[in-house]
Subunit: 327 residues, 2 copies
């Protein structure tokens, strides 16, 4: 590895001059600066992050915990987080937790060992290790978290239920997200508020996971339990798409005999045909805002508003019927 001494030697200036030039602190003559820059270029010298990290006790690394990178919602969050932290000079250590508390703990231990500056987590897990670091929670946000970015799940739940309520539903089933994920309960509350106000009956199908790999099997169980369902509010887009396929295989026409609304608005929900109606969450923006929040805390020590709620938007596509005319 190139050292600052070698740079100084090649540039023909003192180590102190190189240091001032690199840190933009104190006076350096234009000629000396040019020599230093040429030497840095020639020797491929980059100030060593590891040495800096040891000295400052913190690295320029941020740990990112994701519940399931195979679910297309999370790569979009990751992209937002990455752009956000890069913008502020940080890099991302990746931790794909797969809803496994032990894996989460292992990652947090690795993060600590690497002196990470902070953590951004889309995992709602409760590993106590995370409390020792500055951290921002995304998406799956408990009410006691100080720093968090999430979207408006209650409104999202209401919007989804209104779409179904307005479209001549016969047998409504709400596919409820996992009980331990806080946003699931908020969305369900939004769904129920609307359906009760409209005096519409509905049934609940409780899921245990949002995991991609379980979607097809869950869709199968769903139809075993509710073969008569004709209007479904799904827990997310992945599960909605699995239900659409299962309905089609069972000979039901979409949306005439089976209509459905998802949640998330993954890129595929738009690209497939019939397109999936859904509640769009701004995944990229959620990641980006979370990164800004953490960087603000790390650099300034405080933020004015530590909890950011992002709006959701309704996307109507071909998976639901035309709206009732008399509504």
């Amino acid at each position: 590895m190139t050292t600052i001494k070698e740079v100084a030697k090649l540039a023909g200036v003192s180590v102190a001059t190189v240091s001032r030039a690199l840190n933009n602190s104190g006076y350096v003559s234009e000629a000396a600066r040019k020599k230093v820059e040429a030497a840095v270029e020639e020797l491929n010298f980059y100030p060593n992050e590891v040495a800096r990290s040891l000295y400052q006790k913190k690295s320029k690394l941020i740990g990112l915990l994701l519940p399931d990178i195979a679910n297309p919602f999370f790569p979009l969050i990751a992209k937002g987080v990455e752009d956000g932290v890069n913008q502020r000079g940080y890099s991302l250590l990746l931790g794909n937790v797969e809803d496994d508390l032990e894996k989460e703990k292992d990652y947090l231990k690795i993060f600590l060992q690497n002196n990470i500056a902070g953590v951004i987590s889309a995992v709602q897990g409760d590993a106590k290790e995370i409390k020792k670091m500055p951290f921002v929670t995304l998406d799956r946000v408990e009410s006691d978290r100080d720093l968090a970015v999430h979207s408006d799940d209650y409104t999202g739940g209401m919007l989804a239920a209104e779409v179904i309520a307005d479209r001549d539903p016969k047998e409504i089933v709400i596919m409820v997200g996992p009980k331990d994920v806080p946003s699931s309960a908020m969305r369900l509350a939004g769904n129920e508020k609307v359906l009760k106000e409209r005096h519409l009956d509905y049934q609940l199908f409780q899921t245990q996971s949002y995991k991609f790999e379980l979607a097809e099997q869950t869709a199968h169980q769903f139809f075993e339990t509710f073969p008569q369902a004709d209007s479904v509010i799904a827990s997310n887009d992945v599960y909605a798409i699995a239900l659409m396929k299962e309905a089609t295989k069972r000979g039901q026409r979409i949306p005439e005999e089976f209509q459905i609304i998802g949640y998330d608005d993954m890129p595929f929900s738009r690209m497939m045909y019939p397109g999936l109606s859904t509640i769009a969450q701004p995944a990229y923006e959620m990641g980006y805002k979370g990164a800004e929040l953490l960087c603000d805390i790390l650099e300034k020590g405080f933020v004015e508003n530590g909890r950011i709620q992002l709006p959701v938007t309704l996307k109507i596509r071909e998976s639901v019927r035309k709206k009732d005319k008399d509504e």
Copy 2:
């Protein structure tokens, strides 16, 4: 941060004893070991990776370069890489390059600054910085790379063309992947070999990118150029799905009037309906094998076989017609 001195003090043993116990080197009595373990547990002491990294000149970090994390093929690769490096005690620094050579260079600079042990790259970019580190290339592999994991693109290209050739094609169009991606040329060579042997005419539609965001616009351009296309060999699954939607919007029935085969076998290709016929690449395995290869090099300094080719498999789903009976 807890220091080794504090551990020694709490355990009531010397720093040297703590060091021997933690490194499993030299004699430590069973009683002393137990005291050290209890103190480590109590103080939450983890040997500091950053200090170790500075001393050893290498960290336990591996940099991962991906071309586009929003393309569902790459999160699967990332998952394989992550499981593979974690297994060997390394962690991943994420770099989502988005087919941008400047971004690639920036990431490589950051990787160097963090003393990463090596790089795993699914980017075919030619930043010269990467040559300074141990690196393994995945998927987009130039012939001059020593350490690489890729799948059998030539056979994949042949399989895709055979599926179309066997199913009464009228107007065949090959959607060719970007020219600068080595696997595109291999797949095209496989396609052409079969179609020429079978004396079938075909036309080429050259794409500039595999980027997710460009799929819909490219599908639109495709049909503007080849409105009569009835049998398409697509560059990947994302672009195939965009073509299926565009064909459906234009009133063509799949597969009767428009049949198509993709490449990759993303999870969605199976989950949607009609399902997309495609050539399955083992994305997770590619990532995992790449991680093993890099870890072998880092730990042993050599590998017996530095270039690993993985087999591809054909998946027939509803997007292509029934096979001709007389074939």
